[in-house]
């Protein structure tokens, strides 16, 4: 294993130390409670947004703390959900008079630990709601699995709900908005390699030199199945088919497209894929109105790309365009 780390046991802490030292103006890391929070509380009361999950998917959620997105993030160990005490502490910090929304990616560990935190928080006087992000179209929702994973739509939910919260939207409406973003989103990912978690020190699984892995997640588990590698155009067509056949957007729909690198895919390949994906979507009658290209919901050092489409409304477009200032997403200020 070759990584820039001190030791497998301290990776997450050392990362959070570096992140908060680089972005000290906007966020703060509390190592005792293991909560990453906005440095300056919002100037007017707003619904608090808390996102959390296993580490290894950076910048999700830690890189999205700041104006226009999250109030706090709770990072777990690598590929391991945070524990209830962290979630409880983060929720108390994010509470600011208008309640708190938990953004939870649909993974068993996350759902169970957030669930335990809610049982504890039930006894406190705060309004609490949750949105479960489950945009992964590679998994059929037939009850035979843990259900669709939460992938790229996490960024979109946190951005859109973050903007609406900043505008003063109430918890109930905000929860519906967040749920509508999930419902209008679909994601499909393709991996070129496995990833190496520091504790284990070797790749989670093997993928032949001539193969790609379809329907990957974000915690190193193998995808739906390996198939022979295709040229970029073929991969893009396949990915767009997977998402659009599931999402069935209206004809002529306007969409936001997130082209997401898994951690080790370079800028050049991501934008190359963005071009192919946009063309494939256009060929299916879908108009890509907004694009975000970069590595946002990752799986350590995995090479791979996932595409997320969100069927836009004018309201969603407006909230997407609203100012944001976090470590990983910034515009408008």
């Amino acid at each position: 294993m070759k990584k820039f780390i001190n030791s497998p046991a301290t990776v997450v802490d050392d990362y959070l130390h570096g992140l908060s030292s680089a972005h000290g103006a906007i966020l703060e890391w509390d190592p005792e409670n293991r909560v990453l929070q906005r440095r300056d509380p919002p100037s007017t009361p707003k619904v608090g947004l808390v996102g959390g999950g296993g580490s290894g998917c950076e910048p999700t959620h830690t890189g999205f703390v700041g104006h226009g997105m999250l109030d706090a993030a709770v990072p777990g160990q690598i590929f391991t959900s945070p524990v209830p005490s962290q979630i409880v502490a983060a929720t108390r910090r994010a509470e600011n008079g208008k309640g708190v929304l938990h953004v939870i990616k649909n993974f068993t560990g996350e759902v169970m630990n957030f669930g335990m935190a809610e049982e504890i928080l039930y006894f406190e006087h705060l309004d609490l709601a949750q949105v479960i992000v489950n945009d992964d179209v590679s998994i059929a929702d037939d009850g035979e699995t843990a259900g669709r994973r939460g992938l790229g739509a996490t960024v979109l939910v946190e951005k859109v709900a973050g903007a609406a919260a900043e505008e003063g939207m109430e918890l109930h409406a905000l929860t519906s908005l967040a749920e509508s973003v999930v419902a209008r989103s679909g994601t499909f990912g393709v991996g070129l390699s496995s990833c190496t978690s520091p504790a284990r020190g070797k790749p989670v699984y093997d993928l032949a030199e001539s193969e790609m892995d379809l329907g990957i997640g974000i915690s190193g588990e193998p995808g739906r199945g390996a198939v022979p590698l295709l040229p970029a155009r073929g991969i893009a067509a396949l990915m767009v088919d997977e998402v659009l056949s599931d999402l069935s957007p209206a004809t002529g729909a306007k969409v936001l497209m997130l082209v997401n690198g898994m951690g080790a895919t370079p800028h050049q390949e991501l934008y190359l894929m963005a071009g192919e994906l946009e063309a494939a979507a256009r060929a299916q009658g879908v108009a890509v109105e907004r694009q975000l290209v970069g590595s946002f919901v990752t799986s350590l050092d995995q090479a791979g790309v996932a595409v997320t489409f969100l069927e836009l409304t004018d309201e969603l477009t407006r909230l997407w365009d609203a100012p944001v200032e976090t470590a990983a997403l910034r515009w408008g200020r």
Partner: protein
Amino acid sequence: MKTTIEPGLNRADLERWVTDFGRRIVDQHEALSDLDAFSGDADHGSNMERGLSSLLTVMAEWDPAGRPGDFLRDVGLHIVGSVGGSSGALYGTMFLRMARAVGDATVVTDDLLVAAFEGAAHGVIDRGKVRPGDKTMLDALGPAVEALRQGLANGASRSSALRTAAAAADAGREATADMVARRGKSSYARDRSRGVVDPGSASAAMLVRAAAATL
């Protein structure tokens, strides 16, 4: 057939059990992560190791005079607060439910022991929304609980019933190799999750084996 009434278990007995379980996890965590690598995310061993090794350290400083139920609760809280992931919530819930079943009894009688194990299994079912055959820790824990209950009901000694339970857990673990996962990260792999035993069932079998070795 043995007829002597064995005395109940006290806090020290339970501590020996949890210590033995913790050592097994620490010793074998790499093998557990390797199992998890087959169709999961390769971290079950490191998750459990993190929580159990720190538990072994802090446990040494706890008040040895406490009641069994308090001990089980503290173990549960420590696991919930340190393991993380699915197994943190699930093993934590198991111990919290055992604590609930034991209540403030000063010794854990055989009846209470059965109730505790049943509570643990139901905790997994509640928290995990899981059924037998879903290829999870329940497939080792469930048969063990049933074997323990029946053994004691049939008049076996606690230690003999626990040995039978451990054998049932081992058999349950082995049976998971042929199952297709319907819960947890392995479930994404569907049919390809068939072929090796479920890591959680392997750690759960260690929990029962540790009980047989110490109680």
